[in-house]
């Protein structure tokens, strides 16, 4: 075993880490935007909208992410839609994760007692104001732990983009391992790179959780 390959390829791994960070950050942004929209559908007064929201969540979270990614990358070109591997990765990861984000937000809103909304409405606030000032701040606090988990899963799931040739952390480690036949050091290096991203995230989530725990 030759650990020196780690040092020699530190730059490439760092580049891979940057790609993982980019894919994760963009996918998270997409997941949050879609997730908030779908969560709004899930708690909407209209049963039709609620059903659309439910269908979206159940459909996406019950099909393996890898299948969704392969669909975008391998199946879409055959109907004339050709997307860059990086874009496919961000889209698949973001859309898939948005189902979990929507679910976390919906359960956060559901966990706020209806009396809170009623108290706001009774004092003359409109529905939107009462939601914004009273229900959502409490829902967000309850949403932080599941959203934190979802974010960690997203970072880890991003390694799947290596299967469509994106040179993220895993893709880089795999490539360099194959070239040098030094898989052990390269994959240990990859694990360390993931920890560099996930441990601070976990730490930040814990801090946020404590701060909003009231």
């Amino acid at each position: 075993m030759d650990w020196s390959v780690l040092g020699e390829n530190a730059g490439a791994l760092a580049q891979g880490l940057l790609i993982t960070l980019e894919v994760s950050a963009l996918a998270l942004l997409l997941a949050l935007v879609l997730g908030v929209i779908v969560a709004t559908l899930r708690v909407a007064p209209s049963p039709v909208l609620r059903r659309i929201g439910t269908a979206y969540v159940e459909f996406l979270r019950n099909i393996p992410l890898l299948v969704q990614l392969f669909f975008l990358f391998f199946a879409l070109p055959s109907i004339g839609i050709r997307l860059d591997a990086f874009v496919c990765g961000v889209l698949a990861l973001g859309v898939y994760t948005s189902a979990f984000v929507a679910e976390a937000i919906r359960s956060g809103i559901a966990a706020v007692p209806t009396g809170q909304l009623e108290a706001g409405l009774s004092s003359g606030m409109g529905y939107a104001t009462a939601m914004r000032l009273i229900v959502l701040p409490q829902a967000i606090a309850k949403t932080i732990p599941p959203l934190g988990n979802t974010t960690l899963n997203l970072i880890k799931n991003s390694s799947l983009v290596s299967t469509v040739s994106v040179l993220d952390i895993l893709g880089t480690a795999n490539l360099l391992g194959a070239r040098s036949f030094q898989y052990v050091p390269m994959f240990v290096g990859a694990a360390i790179c993931y920890l560099i991203l996930t441990l601070p995230t976990a730490f930040a989530v814990n801090r946020l959780e404590k701060r909003y725990a009231r």
Binding site: P113, G120, L121, S122, S123, G124, M125, G126, L133, R214
Partner: protein, 247 residues
């Protein structure tokens, strides 16, 4: 001059699904009147008072509050609710806000009162419910009785003409009931219109102008507290009274 009629139900019917929960309700409450609503569990007391501020909508008949008819449209409904405060059995204070913020939130956001003034008024209200030292506490740091007094102060902050109470002392330990009732009794003498769902007979006797007894969605008896407690006419009211007076 405020309108002499504060609240008027005429021909009100309400169903939850197939469950007919308010049946033929005709009820007029005068400005400044203190009305106590009693009746067995499930008889429709909460539903009745929740119709007064539109937390529940009726399917037939009309509810008029302060001369305005309660219809389901957003803006008008909010305008009526500004004049009608509500105190809940479970307090429903905002847990993420301090006592002072709980009280000032609606005046600042709904009435556009300046923060300074809203806080000054809130402190005066806290004085009135005997909790001046709790302005910066969070609800979770207060006892049940203290939370309910803050909830009353919060309702008063909008300077409502009508105050609704839905079993305000039912969630309280016995030793805290009196402190809340004392605040409510003091309020009853200020000329504000009060509709109070409660089984506190002492409160009804002392400050109630009228007792309404509900059973199975109907108002089956209305009387002054004196009449009601000495000789209720309705047999169900008699039965109910004998039960609650037994303990």
């Amino acid at each position: 001059m405020p309108p002499p009629v504060a609240i008027a139900f005429s021909g009100v019917q309400k169903w939850f699904g197939t469950n007919h929960v308010l049946v033929d309700i005709d009820l007029t409450i005068a400005t400044g009147e203190v009305v106590v609503v009693i009746g067995p569990s499930g008889s429709g007391k909460s539903t009745l008072i929740r119709c007064i501020n539109g937390l529940e909508a009726v399917q037939q008949g009309t509810v008029v509050v302060g001369g305005k008819r309660l219809t389901a449209t957003g803006g008008e409904l909010a305008a009526i609710r500004r004049e009608v405060g509500m105190v809940f059995q479970a307090f429903h204070l905002y847990p993420h806000k301090t006592v002072l913020e709980n009280i000032t939130l609606a005046p600042i956001t709904v009435k556009r009162v300046l923060r300074d003034q809203a806080e000054r008024e809130a402190r005066a209200l806290l004085e009135r419910v005997d909790l001046p030292e709790k302005a910066d506490a969070y609800p979770a740091q207060l006892s049940g009785g203290q939370q309910q007094r803050v909830a009353i102060a919060r309702a008063l902050a909008m300077q409502p003409k009508v105050l609704l109470f839905d079993e305000p002392t039912s969630a309280l330990d016995p030793e805290m009931i009196a402190e809340v009732l004392d605040v409510m009794k003091a309020l009853a003498h200020t000329g504000i219109t009060m509709v109070v769902v409660t089984h506190e007979m002492g409160f009804a006797r002392e400050v109630g102008d009228r007792v309404i007894f509900m059973d199975a969605g109907r108002i089956v008896e209305q009387a002054t507290p004196q009449q009601f407690f000495s000789a209720p006419g309705n047999p169900r009211a008699q039965l109910f009274l004998s039960k609650i007076l037994a303990h």
